[in-house]
């Protein structure tokens, strides 16, 4: 599940952002603003995948507990 979420994210990000940023630009002296804004954008995606990861770990943890209690019976 985790691998395919990453693959989907890869394709999405690659398509959208490559097309958006792929014009030539004169790199100048202040890359700070680019990093600032990039973090705002990428933070949304990474925050979502992290929350999903934590949620998934909790689900797996609960399932394992249920399975082990069944085995004991």
């Amino acid at each position: 599940m985790r691998i395919s979420i990453h693959k989907i994210c890869l394709i999405l990000i690659w398509t959208i952002l490559i097309l958006y940023f792929a014009r030539p630009a004169n790199a100048y002296l202040d890359p700070g603003s680019g990093s600032y804004i990039f973090q705002l954008i990428i933070g949304i995606l990474l925050g979502a995948t992290f929350s999903l990861k934590i949620f998934w770990k909790k689900i797996i943890g609960k399932l394992r507990k249920i399975l082990s209690s069944w085995r004991k019976k």
């Binding site: 952002l17 990039f38 973090q39 990861k53």
Partner: protein, 455 residues
């Protein structure tokens, strides 16, 4: 009062580091009072020190005056090393420690305002944050200010070393404050575009920088949530954890297995080195040309600290891994080419010290080294002796005669232009700077060991 500010400590208005009567202190200015109190009050300081992530310090009782809020005395670091001297795993550990500190700081309502590799030093073999003033108060909605620095330093360096070549660590002597992302992106191979972490934090990040460089975006109204900051930190951690060093197979790592010594000779050499070290204890031993650290570990039994230098990043990496496995925390392996040792770099060539400025050691080992310098690199004995005098007080050095199999191999495809490479000439040139205390020929070998002291 003999207060000498450190030439590397000038950028932060929150305070600076200085030396007084041989001890290092940090001055905390009143402008940083609020942050420092929060660091202590929230328990973040105690948490990080307990986990060995932040350098402990002692507060010096002094009346606050003018701009000074407090003076603290941090635990001393036996040997200052720099990011361009670290092997891959040391750099990776330092990066992971930085992210771990930032993640923990967020939980306590603070953030790391710097992600500079120069804020990390190795203490007892492990990376620790030495800049106690690196913390800022978390402002909800504000992105992580050190994200760009982290990507241009830790992440870029690691990506180049893992994807291209370990020896690219040396690039950092030129790009001391970080590699521009556009440069890293161009140097990385195409396969990095399908690595989610590198695609995001290097390639797309660099494109974003280029895009906004020639525009005036104004002040963004969007905010970044706490969960998103944690997600960002977690993703950087996962990206770095997944990186492996790019090893090329060269002869250096198998040095001790393949060449030069019979078992009898090796045992005798170790016994002799131990005997020459004597019964006492040294504060600092430098093992020059340490390879995978066989003799560094021997020296560590008689020293508080051993710095193990080798020009091979692979051998230094292996040395580091072996020490981790043995939980040997007295040895610090570093990548150092003695024919081109770390120079003084940075502003006015004073920010980061040269190798010689960080000495002298109490004792140095130069085992299986002299022929690589004199024949491999054409350096005369007199120059080698002069350099060694600068960096150590005592020396255990191994003389390798021309009939040795290593030298025969070295001269196989080269003209022998070394008529002065003799044991006699070696002794004469070294005695201009050293007094020979003892000499012993290694059993079952043509090589000899010398114990010397500077005059």
């Amino acid at each position: 009062m003999n207060k000498i500010p450190l030439s590397s400590s000038y950028r932060d208005p929150s305070g600076f580091v200085y030396q007084e009567n041989g001890t290092i202190y940090r001055q905390i200015n009143k402008s940083y009072q609020r942050e420092y109190e929060q660091l202590l009050r929230t328990g973040l300081f105690t948490d990080l020190v307990k986990r060995g992530l932040l350098i402990p310090h002692e507060e010096i009782k002094k009346k606050p005056a003018k701009i000074i809020y407090k003076i603290i005395r941090p635990q001393p670091i036996p040997f200052i090393s720099y990011v361009y001297e670290w092997c891959f795993s040391q750099l990776r550990e330092a990066a992971l420690v930085t992210l771990e500190i930032h993640r923990r700081a967020l939980k306590f309502g603070m953030v790391l305002k710097d992600a500079s590799p120069y804020n990390i030093q190795f203490l007892n073999g492990r990376p620790v944050l030495i800049d106690t003033l690196s913390f800022a108060i978390y402002e909800p909605g504000v992105p992580w200010i050190a994200y760009r620095q982290f990507c241009e330093t830790f992440l870029s360096f690691l990506a180049l070393m893992s994807q291209k070549d370990l020896s690219l660590g040396l690039i950092l002597r030129a790009y001391i404050d970080g590699i521009p992302l556009i440069t890293t992106a161009k140097l990385l191979p195409p396969k990095t575009w399908i690595n989610f972490g590198l695609l995001t934090h290097i390639h797309l990040h660099s494109l974003s920088q280029a895009y906004y460089a020639s525009r005036e975006p104004g002040v963004p109204r969007q905010k970044i949530s706490y969960a998103n900051l944690i997600g960002l930190t977690d993703n950087l951690t996962q990206t770095i954890t997944g990186m492996k060093p790019h090893f090329k197979n060269n002869g250096w790592i198998n040095y001790y297995r393949d060449f030069s010594y019979s078992t009898k000779a090796m045992i005798d050499k170790q016994k002799c080195v131990s005997d020459f070290l004597g019964p006492g204890r040294y504060r600092m031993i430098w093992d020059l040309g340490a390879n995978t650290g066989l003799f560094s570990r021997l020296a560590a039994k008689k020293a508080d600290s051993v710095i193990a230098f080798d020009s091979s990043p692979e051998a230094t990496e292996k040395n580091y891994q072996i020490n981790l496995g043995k939980q040997d925390d007295k040895i610090l392996p570093l990548v150092m080419d003695l024919t081109n040792p770390s120079p003084a770099v940075g502003w006015a060539n004073e920010e980061r010290m040269s190798l010689a400025e960080r000495g002298p050691a109490d004792m140095a080992l130069a085992l299986g080294l002299i022929h690589h310098l004199a024949i491999g690199n054409n350096i005369p004995f007199s120059k080698i002796a002069k350099f060694f005098k600068k960096i150590t007080r005592k020396l255990i050095i191994e003389f390798v005669p021309k009939k040795d199999i290593q030298i025969i191999k070295m001269l196989n495809f080269r003209k022998d232009i070394f008529p002065d490479y003799t044991e006699k000439a070696f002794e004469v040139d070294f005695q201009k700077h050293f007094k020979i205390l003892r000499k012993k020929t290694i059993a079952d070998s043509l090589r000899s060991l010398y114990l010397m002291e500077t005059i």
